[in-house]
C-alpha cells in the first residue's frame, strides 16, 4: 500500500491506482471529458488536471494517467490547477459552444459564455477519442481511427471511405459523450439509381463511418436484430467454438 495526501487527507492506495481513481473513491469530484472507466487512461482532454508536490517539485499532471506514489501530495483544486482546467474548458467552449457536456462543465466552473476574443466555431466532436479507443480496446475491431493532426485532427473511417472492419455493433454510438455518432436500422435498405431501385433487405447503417450492413434474423422470432458481420466477428473471436446458428438468437428469445 502507498500512502499519499490528497486535498489534505491522508489516504492509502494500491500501487498502480491513478490519482483520479483514488479521488473518486474518496468522494472528491474531479471533472473529466475523455476519461471512461472501461477504457485505458488516455490523458488527452486535460480537464482532470491536479497539482502535485513531489519532493521540492510542484507540477500539474492529468489525474487520470498519473499513478500514485509514496508521499505524493495532491491538490485537486489548487489555483494553478483550476486555472488550467478553466482555461481548457474555455478553449473547448469556443470550439464547441453547443455541446451539452461542454456547456454543463463550463457552467460548473463559472464560465457562462465563450471569450469574446476567440473566434467561436460550432464543432460537435470534442476529440475525446472514446469511440476510437472503445472500438480498439473493448470491441477489438479497430474500424476507426484518428486522422490528420493538430487542429485538423478528426475521427474517421480509413481514408474517409466505408469502414471495412466495422461490424455496426454500436459501441461507439453508445459511448460518445456528445451523441454525434448516429446509427439506424432500416427495414429495407435499398440502392436507388435513376430508373430503378434494388432492394437489399433489412440493414443497419452507421452514418459517420459510411457503413451499411446486412441484418441477421433471429432464428426463433424471425425479427432482424443484429448484423451478420457482428455475429461472424463474435464467432471468430470466441475461444470456445459456438455454432453460428446458436449466436443468431436475439436477446429477447434467449431470455
Amino acid at each position: 500500500m502507498i500512502t499519499l495526501t490528497i486535498d489534505r487527507r491522508k489516504v492509502e492506495a494500491e500501487k498502480g491506482t491513478t490519482i483520479l481513481e483514488i479521488a473518486r473513491e474518496e468522494g472528491i469530484d474531479i471533472p473529466t471529458l475523455c476519461h471512461h472507466e472501461d477504457l485505458l487512461p488516455y490523458g488527452a482532454c486535460r480537464v482532470c488536471v491536479v497539482e502535485i508536490t513531489k519532493g521540492k517539485r510542484r507540477r500539474i499532471v492529468a489525474s487520470c494517467t498519473y499513478t500514485v506514489e509514496e508521499g505524493l501530495i495532491v491538490e485537486t483544486n489548487s489555483e494553478r490547477a483550476l486555472n488550467v482546467r478553466k482555461g481548457v474548458v474555455e478553449l473547448f467552449l469556443a470550439r464547441h459552444p453547443n455541446v451539452k457536456v461542454i456547456k454543463e462543465l463550463a457552467l460548473k466552473l463559472g464560465i457562462t459564455e465563450p471569450n469574446p476574443r476567440f473566434n467561436v466555431e460550432n464543432d460537435y466532436c470534442i476529440l475525446c477519442g472514446q469511440c476510437v479507443r472503445a472500438c480498439k480496446e473493448i470491441v477489438g475491431a479497430n474500424a476507426i481511427s484518428f486522422t490528420e493532426r493538430g487542429i485538423t485532427r478528426r475521427v474517421s473511417s480509413p481514408f474517409s471511405e466505408t469502414a471495412g472492419d466495422c461490424i455496426a455493433c454500436g459501441t461507439c454510438v453508445y459511448i460518445c459523450p456528445t451523441k454525434i455518432i448516429t446509427m439506424k436500422d432500416v427495414e429495407d435498405g435499398g440502392l436507388v439509381y435513376p430508373g430503378g431501385r434494388d432492394s437489399l433487405g433489412p440493414r443497419r447503417i452507421v452514418h459517420n463511418w459510411k457503413v451499411s450492413l446486412e441484418m441477421e434474423k433471429c432464428r426463433i422470432c424471425g425479427r432482424p436484430f443484429t448484423t451478420k458481420a457482428k455475429l461472424e466477428f463474435m464467432r471468430k473471436r470466441s475461444k470456445v467454438p459456438i455454432p453460428y446458428e446458436e449466436l443468431a438468437i436475439c436477446p429477447t428469445c434467449k431470455g
Partner: protein
C-alpha cells in the same frame, strides 16, 4: 573481410590501414554535406576524378568526398592534405588549375582562399579561417577528414578504440560512473544527465531492454544531427554500442526522418560495414556481447522528436506522446526499459571513453560540460555549423565566428532552441551559453538551432511564424496544445493585421500558462516560449502594433506604406526594375515615386535601394 575477433585484431587492422596509407601523399577532400551538395559538390568530386584520370595522376594524389565541414556559406569546400590548404567556393572550372598549381607545384591559388571581408586578409589553412579559429571541433572535427562510407577511414583516425576500451577494460558500472563524472547532458533539448538515464535504465526491471538514437531533427534551420549522421555515422554507432553494452541491451534503433536521404543511406552503409567487421551483430570483437541496430524511418512529423511519440511511432502507432512518468528508461518501447538519446549525445560517448571524464569535464561551465554544435543561420555572414565549448557567449559566436550581420545592420535578437525556444535580445549577447542559463533567460538549448535576426525583423511577426509552425506540427492529442495554439496564432495574426486590442498581451500570457502547465509533452509545454520571450524582451513592439497600428520593423504588410524620400533618391532606377507590380515610376536621375494603389508591399524596392531612399511609414 573476416570479422574482427579481439581488440588486438582491431589494433593490428588499424596499423595495417595506416601503413598502407602514405601520409605525405596529397589528398584532396571535398565537403559532401547537404549545403555543399546544394552547391554542386558532387560535380566537383567527379571533376577531380576525371581530371586525375586524364592527367594520369592516380598514384600521386587521392580524392576523398567527406562529411560536412560546417562552413556552408562558402561551399563547395575543398581541403588539401597533408598541409590542410583551404579552398572555398570551388567550381568545376577551377579543377585543372588546382591540380596543376597546388598539387604539382605546391603553389597557392589566391582567389580560392578565404578572404576576411573586413581585414581583406586571406587565410591559407582551415584552422586560420576566423570561422574555425574560435571553434572547438571535438565531435565534428573528423567529419572533414573521413569518407563517411568508409569504415577504414574511421578506424584509421582511431575509431572503435573507445569501444574496445569499454568492452575489455571497464565494467558497465564503471562506464556509467565515467559518463556521470563527465557531466554529459542530453543534447536533444532537455539536457537530462546521460549517465543518470543509463543508470536508471540499467537498474530498471524488465527485459529485453532497448536503445534508441533520436535522429528526428525537425527544427526549421537546424541540421547538426543530420550532418553528423551523414558525415560520421560510425561515431554515432560506436556510442550506441557502448551504451548498449552498459545497460545490457541487444536491440537498437536509429529513428531518422526519411527527408534526410543521405543520412539514411550513410547510416545503412555504416551498419552494414560494422557488421562485416564484427563490430556490430553477434559476438562483437569476440566479447560474447550481441547488439544489432535497425533503421526506422520517420514520416517527418516534428512531434516524433519527442521521445514518447517517437517510441509510439516505432511501435507502429500514431506518433503521439503519452504522459511521463513512467519515463522511457523504466517503461519505453513496448513498455520495456529504453534508453533514448540524441545523435550528438551518442557521438560524445566515444570521446569520453577515449579521453576520460576528467578531461571532458574540464571543458564547459559548471552545469554544462563539453562542446555543443549549433547551426548558425538567419541574418549572419557565415552561415554554417559551429561547434563551440559550453559557456561561450552569443557575441563570440555571432560576431567572431559568424562574422557579424550582413550589410553591418544592427543585431536585434537571436532565436535559440528552434521554434519552441525563445528569442533573446541584445542585452543578453554576453550571456555564457549553457543549459541552465538559457532556461533562466526564458529560452532553451533545444537541439541547437540559432537564428540571428537583424533590425528588419518584426518580433510579433516572428512569434506568429513559429507559432504557426507549431500549430501545424501539434499532434492534436491534448486540448491546450491543439486549441490553445490556434487561438494564440489567431490573436497574433490580429495584432500583425492591425486588429489587435488592449488586453491581447495579457490574454496571450494567460493561454501560454495553460499550455505550459496543461500540455502532455514538450512540444506544447515549450510552444509559448517564442511568444513569452518576445513579450518579455520586446513588449514595446507589441504595444506599438496594438496602440499605434504601426510595425516598427516595417514587416507587417497591413500596417505599412512604402514611400520614396525624394531628397535622397538618386533616380538610379534600381527600385523601378525590381518592382513586380509596376508601381514605381520616374525618369532616370530624377526622384522616383510609388503609386500606392498599385503597390503590393512586397518590399523588393526596399531591399534593392542602396541609398536608403525608400522609407516605410
Amino acid at each position: 573481410m573476416e570479422k574482427l575477433k579481439s581488440a588486438e585484431q582491431l589494433e593490428s587492422l588499424r596499423k595495417e590501414i595506416n601503413k598502407k596509407r602514405d601520409r605525405n601523399l596529397p589528398c584532396i577532400t571535398v565537403c559532401g554535406g547537404t549545403g555543399c551538395h546544394a552547391y554542386g559538390c558532387q560535380k566537383v568530386v567527379e571533376g577531380f576524378k576525371k581530371e586525375i584520370e586524364k592527367q594520369k595522376l592516380e598514384n600521386s594524389v587521392n580524392v576523398r568526398p567527406t562529411g560536412c565541414h560546417g562552413f556552408c556559406e562558402r561551399g563547395p569546400l575543398v581541403v588539401i592534405y597533408p598541409k590542410g590548404i583551404f579552398y572555398q567556393q570551388v567550381k568545376v572550372e577551377d579543377i585543372p588549375e588546382i591540380l596543376e598549381k597546388t598539387i604539382m607545384k605546391a603553389e597557392l591559388i589566391e582567389r580560392l582562399l578565404y578572404q576576411d571581408p573586413t581585414t581583406k586578409e586571406r587565410s591559407i589553412y582551415e584552422e586560420e579561417v576566423p570561422f574555425y579559429k574560435k571553434q572547438m571541433r571535438l565531435i565534428f572535427g573528423n567529419n572533414g577528414k573521413i569518407d563517411p562510407c568508409s569504415i577504414e577511414d574511421y578506424i584509421a583516425v582511431g575509431g572503435y578504440a573507445a569501444l574496445s576500451k569499454a568492452f575489455f577494460s571497464m565494467k558497465p558500472q564503471e562506464i556509467i560512473g565515467e559518463v556521470k563524472k563527465s557531466g554529459l547532458r542530453g543534447r536533444g533539448g532537455g539536457g537530462f544527465p546521460t549517465g543518470e538515464k543509463w543508470e536508471s535504465c540499467r537498474k530498471a526491471e524488465g527485459s529485453p531492454k532497448y536503445l534508441i538514437c533520436n535522429a528526428d531533427e525537425g527544427d526549421p534551420g537546424a541540421y547538426m544531427d543530420r550532418s553528423l549522421l551523414e558525415g560520421n555515422p560510425h561515431s554515432v554507432l560506436e556510442g550506441m554500442i557502448i551504451g548498449a553494452f552498459t545497460i545490457g541491451c541487444h536491440d537498437g534503433y536509429i529513428y531518422v526522418r526519411n527527408e534526410y536521404p543521405l543520412a539514411v543511406k550513410n547510416a545503412i552503409v555504416a551498419i552494414e560495414q560494422a557488421e562485416q567487421y564484427g563490430l556490430l551483430g553477434k559476438n562483437i570483437l569476440g566479447s560474447g556481447f550481441d547488439f544489432s541496430i535497425k533503421i526506422n524511418r520517420g514520416g517527418g512529423a516534428f512531434v516524433c522528436g519527442e521521445e514518447t511519440a517517437l517510441i509510439k511511432s516505432i511501435e507502429g502507432d500514431w506518433g503521439e506522446p503519452r504522459q511521463r512518468p513512467p519515463y522511457p528508461a523504466e517503461s519505453g518501447l513496448w513498455w520495456k526499459p529504453t534508453v533514448i538519446n540524441n545523435v550528438e549525445t551518442w557521438a560524445n560517448v566515444p570521446l569520453i571513453m577515449n579521453k576520460g571524464a576528467d578531461w571532458y569535464s574540464s571543458i564547459g561551465t559548471e552545469g554544462s560540460k563539453g562542446t555543443k554544435i549549433f547551426s548558425l543561420v538567419g541574418k549572419i555572414n557565415n552561415t554554417g555549423l559551429v561547434e563551440v565549448p559550453m559557456g561561450i557567449t552569443f557575441r563570440e559566436i555571432i560576431y567572431e565566428i559568424g562574422g557579424g550581420i550582413p550589410k553591418n545592420r544592427k543585431f536585434k535578437g537571436v532565436q535559440t532552441g528552434g521554434p519552441s525556444g525563445g528569442c533573446l535580445p541584445e542585452s543578453l549577447l554576453d550571456l555564457p551559453i549553457d543549459f541552465d542559463a538559457l532556461i533562466e533567460a526564458g529560452s532553451m538549448m533545444g537541439s541547437g538551432g540559432m537564428i540571428v535576426m537583424d533590425d528588419r525583423t518584426c518580433m510579433v511577426d516572428m512569434a506568429r511564424y513559429f507559432l504557426a509552425f507549431l500549430e501545424e506540427e501539434s499532434c492534436g492529442k491534448c486540448t491546450p496544445c491543439r486549441e490553445g495554439l490556434k487561438k494564440m496564432r489567431a490573436i497574433l495574426e490580429a495584432i500583425c493585421g492591425g486588429r489587435g486590442k488592449k488586453g491581447d498581451i495579457e490574454l496571450l500570457e494567460r493561454i501560454s500558462q495553460i499550455l505550459i502547465d496543461g500540455s502532455i509533452c514538450g512540444l506544447g509545454k515549450t510552444a509559448p516560449n517564442p511568444v513569452l520571450t518576445t513579450i518579455k524582451y520586446f513588449r514595446d513592439e507589441y504595444e506599438t502594433h496594438i496602440n499605434e497600428n504601426k510595425c516598427p520593423a516595417a514587416v507587417c504588410k497591413d500596417l505599412i506604406f512604402y514611400d520614396i524620400n525624394a531628397k535622397v533618391c538618386t533616380g538610379c532606377g534600381a527600385c523601378r526594375r525590381v518592382c513586380l507590380s509596376e508601381a514605381i515610376t520616374g525618369e532616370l536621375k530624377q526622384p522616383h515615386a510609388i503609386n500606392l494603389k498599385k503597390c503590393i508591399k512586397c518590399g523588393a524596392c526596399y531591399e534593392a535601394c542602396k541609398f536608403e531612399a525608400i522609407v516605410v511609414s
